[in-house]
Amino acid sequence: MTAHSTLAVELPPEIRRHFPFASRFIRINGHRMHYVDEGEGDPVLLLHGNPTWSFLYRKFIPRLVAAGYRVIAPDHIGFGLSERPAREHDFSLENHIANLAEFIRQLGLKGLTVVCQDWGGPTGLACAVLNPGAFNAIVVMNTWAWPEPTEFHSKVFPWRMMHAPVVGPFLFQRRNILVERGLYLSVVHRERFLEEALPAYRFVMPDYDSRLLTRVFPRLIPLRPDDRSAATMRWLEQSLRSTTIPALILWGKEEIVFPAECAQRFKTLLPHAKGPLWVTGSHFLQEDSPQEICSHILDFLHDQERGPQP
């Protein structure tokens, strides 16, 4: 029996004020998963990465709902208000993909548009290529889908040092560096972030155990061909080459984790994609330019609904 820890789901008023959505829960592969499900219409699935949660999309949800879409934003198992497995070996890229695939299956989602950033990319795109008939469109933002690391992920300073053996548990779990500092360093509009968003990210990572996945996810990024996740990332890249799902590539102009070359690599993988379109934004571009990104997504979806123009 796996040990589990859980978080209270009551959000403080100062956080709920920015995140006024009903919290829903579903049992996925034995784990409790939290998600938001608002509106009616064709479903749009919003996928976050490390160390955020559905709060990241708080400004997307009302905008897309008002435009006539059903908007679904889950928290990956291990993040946000979802359950936090207590063992590092509980986590793998394959398990995260399986969790998301099961989530989509249980909700019976069809005609999906998936919007993904960071780890939302490998997980969401994998679900799309596993079940292409369920997906109408994909929107990729500041992510990757191949086994080769970026320059940022290859360097010892700061990335590999951060999660090195023994160093990782100290920095990520005892000092919570990704929430307390990493997020701040990875947005453009920092004062707004500190005032409006940091309390919500901090709230769901209150203690050592709750931060486990923040240090496990970095170790799942393959650096060498035989690393964990590498085979799955190779499969994902190969599968994406043959996908015909309409796609939009959106990228942050200030992104350094997945630099501009990554956007171009997606364009090579998905030559039919619209973009790349560039918005003001560092790694967490949803914090920087939510309205501009929503406008691009809605324009793209409206173009898809209208079909090919003469």
Binding site: R160, P165, P169
Partner: protein
């Protein structure tokens, strides 16, 4: 010396309790860390089969127990757990503990060597506002 590896005989464990500090499940994630700890703590095959834990004393004079763990399919030690040895029912000062662990990392990283440098650790600590970096 910021960190001193100590033998069990030199410990003040009487009337001390063990307080969990942190755990590392994948010492082998990057090369060199496991080997460095094997050498520093004098680990042998016997340690994987009920042998004693290791201990270190920080410059603060506080002492820590290092429990080396094993896992099927991986070389020993596959991981470690660090416990603070706290006198009696005294409270734990998390910041003081963190400073000791940071000093332990400063001791460890240059011993791993090659690309793992003290400068890189300190630079990382500064970026992420670790007070002792």
């Amino acid at each position: 010396m910021s960190v001193e590896i100590i033998a069990a005989a030199g410990l003040r464990t009487e009337k001390h309790r063990r307080v969990f500090v942190m755990a590392e499940d994948r010492l082998g994630h990057y090369d060199g860390f496991r080997e460095t700890l094997i050498e520093a703590f004098g680990l042998t095959a016997a340690h994987a089969d009920g042998g004693p834990p290791g201990y270190f004393r920080a410059a603060s004079r506080r002492e820590y127990e290092v429990v080396f763990t094993s896992r099927s399919g991986q070389r020993f030690p596959s991981g470690l757990e660090i416990y603070a040895l706290v006198p009696g029912f005294d409270p734990v000062d998390p910041d003081a503990t963190d400073e000791d662990i940071w000093r332990f990392l400063e001791w460890l990283i240059p011993r791993v060597g090659e690309e793992w440098t003290l400068e890189a650790l300190k630079a990382t600590g500064k970026v992420y506002k670790i007070p002792w970096a």
